[in-house]
Subunit: 220 residues, 2 copies
């Protein structure tokens, strides 16, 4: 048996090549792809539900979880097309996993949201064929997250502050949060929303539609 | 140059050996060691502050973060002895990092809390010399966390539900949460607390003191 040495550097490099190929393929098919990242309990699925309701676009969700199909079932009940991926322990999604899912669902002309594993660290390190990364934070997590998990904030193309219906009950220092965000990512758009009340999704969905147009036109 | 093949299995095995050695060394010194795990924003540092105030024991904290010394400075201001470790990107602590810190601080006869990286996935896979693992969840994260991040719940020796001051404002289904916890970990003690109001820390600190005695007596 051949003894093959796989280093982390090789894994990253191979993943980036595959991600670029998958992204080109998705672009050709008119599939604007969003890598949705956030900590456990940030409300990634709930934000997607509220956003998809507002969007005037065909949407599809790839649900990434370590185990369970809770989020996938939730989306199915709401009539949102989706497919579940389980990583079986792994802390992030990677391109081979997404490529398999994309081959199976055969999407075109839509927005494809890929909900990554709930984790503010590892998912930011791996491309998965996306056009943009959407990072979901919450007022309940506290305002120091950009300082503690800088890579996710640096790489984000859009940042959502969720759970703003709870602002009155927690000590979220938005100015301190935004100072951290701006130090890492001066131009990133930031939207405040509540997936519970529906507030803020009009602006976010407009931005998303325009990001889709810009991204696909630029790349086609 | 020698070509050394390092597999994940080797890394895990070596880490477990080192962890057992470090644990034996800490036990000899009367240092009860707690691996503190939780998602970003679960309130790990705030829970430690409230718990240490209640404990009738010398306490020391090793603060693990990817970057920043925000939590370390917060503890210092409150007069809590601590040392900061930065992983420089890595998503969990491991035993070599902790052994270096322990060598530096030279603790004895105390409770040593090691605050792991905010992450519900990777920290659960790596021993760091601890006697017990304390998992901190919150009512704001939602009640499906045991189902989605089973390893952390399965391995926990004590589970804290934090932010119960916010229970009235969120839809946390405690029965569903506990059903998931019990399926993975039938006997684990669970404490509900609020680091904001101080509620629940009397019971938790009593449990912690008794866990220290049991653990050090059993092992010595």
């Amino acid at each position: 048996m051949e003894n093959k040495v796989v280093t982390m550097e090789n894994i990253h490099k191979r993943n980036e090549q595959l991600a670029a190929e998958l992204n080109a393929d998705l672009t050709k098919k008119g599939v604007f792809t969003v890598n949705v990242m956030g900590a456990p309990g940030a409300g990634k699925t709930s934000v997607l539900v509220s956003l998809i309701k507002q969007l005037n676009e065909a949407c599809f969700v790839i649900e990434g979880d370590i185990e369970s199909d809770i989020d996938s079932m939730k989306l199915k009940e709401l009539g949102i097309s989706n497919i579940q991926i389980n990583t079986g322990g792994a802390c992030h999604l990677d391109t081979p996993l997404i490529k398999n899912a994309v081959d199976e669902i055969d999407v075109k002309d839509c927005i494809l949201f890929i909900e990554n594993i709930g984790n503010l660290v590892c998912p930011a390190e791996f491309l998965i064929g996306e056009h943009i990364k959407m990072l979901i934070c919450t007022v309940t997590e506290g305002s120091d997250k950009p300082y503690k998990y800088p890579l996710a904030f640096e790489k984000a193309d859009v940042i959502i502050i969720n759970k703003i219906d709870l602002t009155a009950y927690v000590s979220f220092d938005e100015a301190y949060f935004m100072k951290g965000v701006r130090a890492l990512n001066p131009e990133v758009p930031v939207f405040s929303v509540s997936a519970t009340t529906g507030k803020g999704f009009g602006e976010l969905s407009q931005w998303m539609q325009s990001a889709k147009e810009k991204s696909l036109n630029k790349l086609s």
